[in-house]
Symmetry: C2
Subunit: 680 residues, 2 copies
């Protein structure tokens, strides 16, 4: 044992950091000096038990340093009791173990401050957990007669002394809880801080538990994720229909609703806020926490959604020049929006890019960081509007394309949302032109279904076909093309002899029989009409033209990788998407569904404060191309109406697309229809 | 006329500032360069018409500078029209008059930025009007397609360019009004700013009008003052009973109410907030403004009042160590307190000094600034508690004395508040011992009243005597002493032969007949009892002992000046106060009633932002002496129970106080009563 002024070697695993530290220092403090943050909420009072470490007893490092349990101060009674209670008597509390000799110590993952969460998609990314909300345990001096600081002054002094925090402000709700908490906690309290500068809450004694809610506020669906702000762990998730749907399916109809009724904005605002309140309650219930332990929420959505969320009329987004009320990120008290979380909780709305590309797209980019990869990447998030980002190393172009509701089942005669009974997969036999399909909620393909009065109920499919959802619509059109029933210009092939094509009397227009009456939930045959095909063409042309426009602006001829974000992206089949000409040509194995990347981005901003600055940087650095006024977009749109054939380079479809050179030549577009952006 | 690079001499009156300014510059800008701020809200757009100046045509200054109307650019049509409309065709708009030659200009008081308000009391003080709220008119660039700043970004850029304001944040309510205001104002808006950093409101076009409310929240009375935040003008004032009175007369009973009922705090909080809302509405109505034009409120009150205002339980103020939840000034959004002003309005609560000396006393000191005067000054604010400050140049000591409710009519058998019918003045004839008095609401003294069935109603007094208010109580006791009916120890003089003294059978206890039955509103004689005298003695002893304690601590033997703040201070007669021994000896002409100095201090903090820093400085620098634990206070209290006679030095009462050397010697105090701080 050396004397008090001696230095000892401390080696920390798994980081491998090493250095000389003074005799008698705690492992917690010594690790901090070597740049390794061990988690601690209680500030070294053997209360939070977050700082447990393992002594690598009897080990030698290369330089011959001998590590020993004896090189730390012995466990005292309180530590032994705590460690036994936790079932880890072999570990040490780093706040109570003092260094008396050379020692090699392992800091387990769960004891590290700034834990990491890993996001997997096309790539893999580690996000450090360092949220805006932090809890610290602090012991406050007792009030004495004749000393006049006030309890808030005493708390500030304690936070400055014990945690180096200064210049703090306090929410009125926290101030109201201060004195009861000090009394109940016998002068010890757990303080919840925002941005290390604003006190959100004060609870008596040691009480860990700070949670955050990330919500992707889609026009149709709200997806909420409840996270532990200390560990980064996803504790619960829930989704719900956006109740605004009943006031308008798409964004334009919501905007119309706001402008047409005096209370329109208020109705839509309250509807979504109440839905968010239900999601907060539901996720809190799932996770077994109280709703008032949610101290922070990050909300993303398209610009119309975020405007309405904040109680701002989206009217100006309904027409050129599509002026945003704000593009910047916003922090608002949850209570000012009517959100029932902790009364002092903050709501952070990520920044937007432009009038039609909102915080949800910024969140997608924050999650995927395509501009940090050495490839040309097309990131597509399909909804009622498609947000498209083309990126290369260090640059991004974005556009919004008005795909309309077709991909969500809107404007399709048998269209429906992705719900049980919706056709989501379609295969068409090129010989007969007849379809088999699969519906959501039933494993078997329709050609294996046993139906009819004589089939016992348990052998019948759980759901008959009720309609077609987005992915089914993509597939049926692509399959019709592959089977030769559809011509590249979108007309049903008049030369086809398939019995599934039901021509009108003069053989000028046909419907395609996708599901016969006996497989249909309402007992009527389920048809794909010529009009449906046209609407799909319009939608896919908008998406494709947007992508092509960005490629044109960026001066790239092809993309290396395509990321499909959102629920739609998760369910569509890349081959069918390519066949339909929804997206530019790309190697099939480089087309990835990345799930709800907007929700992931919201979670990242929830868990890491510096990622909020990164989001603002992204929002500012994306170059937005306004499709609505770009003549090239109109041109690309018209060209993209055609289903891909040899005219467009789709080398990755070689051998998949039928040879359509025999198809009749395209008709010339009329001038009138060209002006409308529509071909026949 | 000189060329464009020439310089001209500009002289500004009445300041006398002079300097060389470039050819062609506006008078507004030139004055700013010479350090004279001319008021302008519109930023030189001939809209606000605040910047009018007078050209001193044909005048020469000492150096021979010749001033001429011709040395300014001529009036254009718009300026002529505006000036005619204002009835001042001879003036110029300094934003439109460009300097083309030497010129002498007078800036009228009403055109000066940072106007001054004068406060008169014992001294005279000018307060510069420079509130936290400021309005600026700004023209914002139109949104263009393909440009993505958002309207908030564009507004920030305009504020930076046109007003040099940067780093702004915006209240959610202002953000909601931004786009409608830009639309209605055709891109021109008036922005209301807080602390030049936070946007509170945005209104279309040019719309001046920012108002503030200062309120002295007394335990008994609320006094509200509505001010114009541009001119500093007091537009309206109103007062109301604090509705908390119905839940407890004094502070201790309010605190008991809070601790004894689950909803106690909520009830008291809502009661005072609703009363404040009524006062805001009432003053706004009087001034002819809308309540949502009130952007700032400054509230002062004792610590129990400010705690309850903020929704903080005052429980800890009910017992030692009397810990404040906060001593610091607080800024809270009005909406978070339930105050209905502008939805983004801020409420500023001045800081407190200690557990029993609150923001109201800080406001008194801010208004009176006694520590900046070259005298020893005693500042006394009497209420249920008396706040006492003893100051000299650069130092202040404060104490709070538990005077109890006697001075407000409480614990006095015939006591009542200052309301019509309350006896406020009393004179006792030393020969007969009989009293005459005056009541509030009736000019004549009671000896001139004509009463009885035979007197026509118009000759009868408007009010008969209903009770005695604070000043009446002081006077009757002082007059009883002067008339020799009362002994210095507080007993009625058994040697008196006055018929107004009604002795009990054994002549051990007497009541004094102040008003006979025929002059009393309820037809019963109005009496002053021995018990009443005792309660007055206790109250005055507390006040006097507090003052003496501070003199002891400060090491001063006498005071040069006494300031009596508050309503009570305004109505009591200094001579009677001295006779009673309420306050230490002082030259009668140096005892001043300074009115509602707490309300004045609140107004000062409302109108001048730097005075808020001064208030914090005052709150921190006052040395608070806790009477509750000071043995010297107990000692002084016991001594002060006696009504002043020759034992205490009261040279200024020489010739007024009767020679009481003949009075029987004081009885010795019993030990038990001494411990209770009470003499017999």
């Amino acid at each position: 044992m050396k004397n008090d002024s001696a230095l000892h070697t401390l080696i920390l695993m798994p980081s491998g950091r090493r250095g000389q530290v003074p005799h008698g220092i705690t492992v917690l403090e010594a690790a901090r000096q070597l740049g390794v943050e061990i988690e601690s909420i209680c500030g070294g009072r053997q209360t939070c038990q977050k700082c447990r470490v393992r002594v690598e007893n009897g080990r030698f490092d290369k330089a011959g340093i001998h590590s020993s349990e004896d090189h730390l101060s012995p466990r005292d009674e309180k530590e032994i009791k705590l460690l036994n209670k936790l079932g880890t008597p072999e570990l040490r509390l780093s706040c109570n173990a003092r260094i008396l000799g050379d020692v090699l110590i392992t800091v387990p993952e769960e004891s590290r401050a700034h834990k990491q969460i890993i996001r997997k998609s096309a790539g893999e990314r580690a996000i450090e957990v360092e949220p805006v909300v932090r809890q610290v345990y602090v012991e406050v001096a007792e009030a004495r007669l004749g000393e006049h600081r006030g309890d808030w002054g005493r708390l500030q002094d304690a936070l400055a002394e014990q945690w180096g925090l200064s210049g703090l402000s306090i929410d009125i709700h926290a101030l109201r809880r201060l004195q009861p908490a000090l009394r109940d906690g016998k002068q010890a309290v757990t303080v919840t801080l925002w941005q290390e500068q604003h006190v959100l809450d004060i609870r008596p004694g040691y009480q860990e538990g700070a949670f955050g809610l990330a919500v992707d506020v889609g026009s149709t669906t709200l997806a909420a994720y409840l996270c532990d702000l200390r560990t980064g762990e996803l504790l619960a998730s829930a989704s719900a229909m956006n109740p605004q749907v009943s006031y308008g399916e798409d964004l334009m109809s919501r905007i119309s609703f706001v402008t047409s009724r005096r209370d329109g904005l208020d109705v839509l605002h309250k509807a979504v806020i109440e839905a968010l309140n239900r999601l907060a309650a539901e996720t809190a219930r799932q996770a077994g926490i109280r709703r008032d332990q949610i101290y922070e929420a990050v909300l993303v959505g398209n610009t119309t959604m975020t405007h309405i969320l904040l109680g701002i009329s989206p009217e100006s987004l309904g027409g050129a020049p599509f002026a945003l009320a704000h593009r910047e990120a916003m922090d608002v008290k949850a209570r000012d929006l009517g959100l029932r979380l902790h009364p002092a909780a903050n709501v952070h709305i990520l920044p937007s890019e432009a009038g039609h590309v909102g915080a949800d797209n910024v969140a997608v980019l924050l999650a995927e960081q395509p501009h940090t990869r050495p490839e040309i990447i097309l990131t597509v998030d399909v909804g009622t509007n498609a947000e498209i980002v083309l990126s290369g190393p260090g640059w991004m172009f974005s556009a919004s394309s008005p795909t309309g509701p077709a991909f969500e089942g809107g404007q399709i005669s048998a269209g429906m949302r992705a719900a049980p009974g919706a056709i989501e997969r379609v295969r068409i036999d090129p010989q007969t032109g007849l379809a088999r399909f699969r519906v959501i909620g039933e494993e078997r393909w329709s050609n294996e279904w046993a139906v009819g009065a004589d089939v016992p109920p348990e052998r019948q499919p759980r759901h008959l076909a009720s309609g077609i959802c987005g992915s089914g619509i993509i597939e049926v059109v692509a399959e019709l093309l592959l089977a030769g029933l559809l011509l590249p210009d979108g007309r049903f092939n008049p030369d086809s002899t398939s019995p599934a094509l039901r021509w009108d009397a003069r053989r000028r227009k046909a419907d395609y029989l996708l599901a016969p009456a006996e497989l249909s939930a309402n007992g009527k045959p389920l048809l794909v009409t010529q009009e449906d095909i046209r609407n799909i063409q319009l939608a896919k042309a908008a998406l494709y033209a947007g992508a092509k426009l960005l490629m044109l602006r960026a001066g790239v001829a092809s993309v290396d990788r395509i990321l499909l974000a959102g629920a739609f992206g998760s369910y569509i089949d890349p081959t069918h998407a390519l066949v339909l000409g929804l997206i530019p040509d790309c190697s099939l194995e480089r087309i990835h569904a990345v799930g709800n990347a907007a929700g992931d981005g919201a979670r990242i901003a929830l868990l890491n404060r510096s990622q909020r600055a990164a989001a603002s940087q992204i929002a500012r650095s994306v170059r937005y191309i306004e499709t609505a006024v770009d003549p090239d977009f109109q041109e690309q749109f018209v060209l993209a109406m055609h289903l891909p054939h040899k005219r467009d380079p789709f080398p990755h479809l070689e051998g998949i697309l039928p040879d359509l050179s025999a198809a009749p030549p395209r008709r010339r577009q009329t001038r009138r229809n060209k002006a409308r952006g529509i071909t026949q």
